[in-house]
Amino acid sequence: MTAPLLEVDDLRTRFLTPRGPMVAVDGVSLTLAAGETLGIVGESGSGKSVLGRTIMGLITNGPTTTVTGAVRVDGADIHQLTPQGRRALWGTKIAMVFQDPMTSLNPTKRVGTHLSESLRFHRGLSRGAARTRAVELLKLVGIPEPERRAGQYPHELSGGMRQRVVIAMALACDPKLLIADEPTTALDVTVQKQILDLLQSLAERLQMATILISHDLGTVSGRTDRVAVMYAGRVVESGETRDVFAQPRHPYSGALIESIPRLDAASHSLLPAIVGQPPNMLNPPSGCRFAPRCAFAQDRCRTETPALVDDVACHFPLTQALEVHA
């Protein structure tokens, strides 16, 4: 068997904050094969973005940050590389798209320049060749009149167009893995669909593996092969996306799926809400972190941390399919 494209092994990201240490990602392991798509879902603060950035190597060991475990991309451990070594992987092996396109764009640079600079740096293209390729890339991501757009500044584009530019930048050097962190959360629904469709078709066409991070279960459900559900810094369940949505085994995944209003349910139907609120990560509950909110919790849950066994971290996993999907 060939080694997977991405191997994340017992990854832990710990921040020293003014209010004490906080483990934002707490022992996450994942693998991803070439061309595969993985969704990461979870609520705000569950550690999705920190996980994505730690995989990318944007978060590394530092004065207030400790990363343990390993992230191997094509066999190379990102966190053992020198900063230059990491930078050489960015764009060519692994690239990232963020929620707010402006974090990746320089307002004083023209759209085309963003693309051609990276092409010249990574690919050693000449000025002219880089410009031609930049226009091709803009066309690839569905931007009308790419020649004209290349000469415009980011603020002259709509949010959806900017996110297309950022995607074009991420794809400029043919990465094998794209991490998209809430790539459409800031966009309108009608534009969201366009961007997600685009990402999906590009990933297929370019044989690129994708990690799609989102708090929106709907976004992930129809567009990924596998999914990992995070709660309070840990993966509580993973599996084939279809299976997890049809028959979640972790009580949190189940409750989350059921609590979301459905368009095909009658108006005014009572939503099966999850009680309580997500934990304070500076002082998370002992044992299973979902125990204070779990309808199935027993004494054991409060003392003994359930390990991820057979893709679910729960002492008493659910055994029945959800009614709504029956």
């Binding site: 309108d188 969201q192 669909k193 459900s221 368009l263 939503l271």
Partner: protein, 321 residues
């Protein structure tokens, strides 16, 4: 027929932005909410939802158009009269924590609105506790806390408690769950339903999430760029909506949310180009630059909302009925 709890006619709100230009935020929208009814307002960012919410409570008052709360006309009232008349219509905002004064304690925040009226009965504490309990908060735990010590969900509950303190007949909720954790949204939606029943309220519920709006509303008004394009019973939203924009909105939802019986029509946008600017909206039908059914008439003539039966209204020249 009974008097609507709230009725607004031909609301227009424009924001001058210099150089003689103005944002056409709301351009002639009418709505009415029956007693005990929930009207949902659905639309994408910038279509004017919040502006309508604020025009209804006259903060600021619309540039033209009228707002009646019960049988009281609000437009044109002087500040003092308005404050009294408006008290029975309360608004809840999207970002609960920042809409609360950070220095005040929960008990004062809840009482604040009441205190304006100079009421200071000795049942004050009891009243505060009662309303906190009504929104599912434990008075012992939260009474002395300040906003930053609350979770988003708790803060939204405090906002609802504050509004209830004024004994409103109409509650306007502007994206009350958009900033909350997914797992907390359902709690607040259920709470709003229960509160509405318990306090006999009419609700205006503003949101961009189609399924959330469908769940809580009796009727839904769909807006595009400052105009109302379709109004229909919420039960019919995903199956019977006919306006090309509503169809586009529905077909943009993740597959898991789409109903299998949703006509199967894939509304393809005409051009995946720029959205029109509210500074200079398209003539005629404002959706025409993206509409697959657009014809010359759509540019020349504005489609008016017309009744198509069963409580359904649509503003379009070309939908086949």
């Amino acid at each position: 027929m009974t008097t609507p709890a709230l009725e607004a006619t031909d609301l227009v709100v424009e924001f001058p932005v210099g150089r003689g230009q103005k944002v056409h935020a709301v351009s002639g929208v009418s709505l009415s909410v029956a007693p005990g009814e929930t009207l949902g307002i659905l639309g994408e960012s910038g279509c004017g939802k919040s502006t309508i919410g604020r025009a209804l409570i006259q903060m600021p008052a619309p540039d033209s158009g009228t707002v009646r709360l019960g049988d009281r006309e609000l437009t044109g009232l002087r500040a003092k009269e308005l404050r009294g008349a408006r008290a029975r219509m309360q608004i809840i905002m999207q970002d609960p924590i920042s809409s609360l004064n950070p220095r005040r304690k929960v008990k004062d925040l809840v009482w604040e609105s009441h205190a304006i009226w100079g009421y200071d009965g000795d049942d004050k504490e009891a009243k505060i506790d009662e309303v906190l309990r009504a929104v599912g908060l434990d008075p012992e735990t939260v009474r002395e806390r300040r906003p930053h010590e609350l979770s988003g969900g708790q803060a939204q509950r405090v906002c609802i408690a504050r509004a209830l303190m004024m004994d409103p007949v109409v509650l306007i909720c502007d994206e009350p769950v958009s900033s909350l954790d997914v797992s907390v949204q359902a709690q607040i939606l259920n709470l709003l339903e229960a509160t509405k029943a318990r306090y006999d309220l009419s609700l205006v519920f503003i949101a961009h999430d189609v399924a959330v709006v469908k769940n809580i509303s009796d009727r839904v008004m769909v807006m595009y760029l400052g105009k109302s394009c379709e109004v229909l019973p919420s039960e019919d939203l995903h199956l019977r909506a006919v306006h090309p924009y509503t169809r586009l909105l529905l077909s943009s939802l993740p597959e898991a949310q789409q109903s299998s019986s949703a006509n199967g029509d894939v509304v393809v946008e005409r051009v995946a180009a720029e959205l029109p600017s509210p500074l200079n909206p398209p003539s005629g039908c404002r959706f025409r630059t993206r509409c697959p059914l657009a014809t010359d008439r759509c540019a020349a003539e504005e489609p008016l909302l017309r009744d198509i039966g069963a409580g359904h209204q649509v503003a379009c020249h070309n939908v086949a009925l």
